[in-house]
Subunit: 65 residues, 6 copies
């Protein structure tokens, strides 16, 4: 613990590496948590597996995501 | 909010599009929720990543799923 | 399968009953799924356990949720 | 999107407020994501609903959590 | 890793303790995983937060759950 | 119910088959649950979608996972 699960559009490894580092720092700063106790899972979905407003991501305009 | 995560066998985009539309309408009708507030995530698993009754989906007969 | 998990603000049992019924019908109509195969889980969070835009729900104005 | 779900031991609202703010900033910095697109859900469990190493949290010594 | 999340009806601590112990052993036997790497989370729902077949648990007969 | 979701590194079908069988037995023994009521979902992530201690799995040494 803590376990962080992120549902998001696909991102590059560089972006996920940066995000995981910053989120882990956030737990240290806000909770005083040890870095090794923090695990981050990325669950990526594309526009064919996500909908908002009843419209699939693949059918929405990019700016509306 | 609300966030809907669906664990299911793979379906076509057409089927998911139809389902996401209907689920979003259900939130409008039952809760009075604005469509744009509803997000639906599809998390698809095949028979090698799901078991029921202690038997993997890939080992079960189709009718028993 | 399918398993539906809904993250939402607390609602009355009447509202959840109505929503679960409609969502289950949506699976029957969009997928041809048998009603008994559909399970719906409600995971309710209050404003002290949810944030949007970096602001806790309990700190946001009601209209901004 | 993105949706962040955090499984953790109970924390004060002050700590969660601080964490949610920092995590949302992390998405802005690492992904260039708009703050309003980021939602954070806290799913808190106590020692009677979590186990590590096959031992319930309520049976572990505090330092071993 | 691995992280196990269990959605279930409420159970006693004794039952959850027994289950967590056995599940952790299962990972050791099937995967050769170290016990300390296995975390189990219990997410309990009552009949007002779960539906099957479009019917809330609190409306179903006990035998039909 | 119960629904078991496992976040893990990729494993062979043989290993998952063995684990699902043992976990289902664990529910029977600890809860007296009927096997057919137990569903197990495997959500596999590789080292590019998981971080511990702020370091991506693909950047960690194998022994540190």
């Amino acid at each position: 613990m803590p376990i962080v699960t992120i549902q998001q559009f696909p991102r590059s490894v560089e972006q996920k590496r940066e995000l995981a580092r910053r989120i882990t720092e956030a737990f240290a700063e806000a909770y005083g948590a040890k870095a090794e106790s923090v695990q981050v899972f990325f669950s990526e979905v594309d526009g064919e597996n996500w909908a908002k407003g009843g419209v699939m991501g693949c059918d929405r305009e990019a700016g509306a995501r």
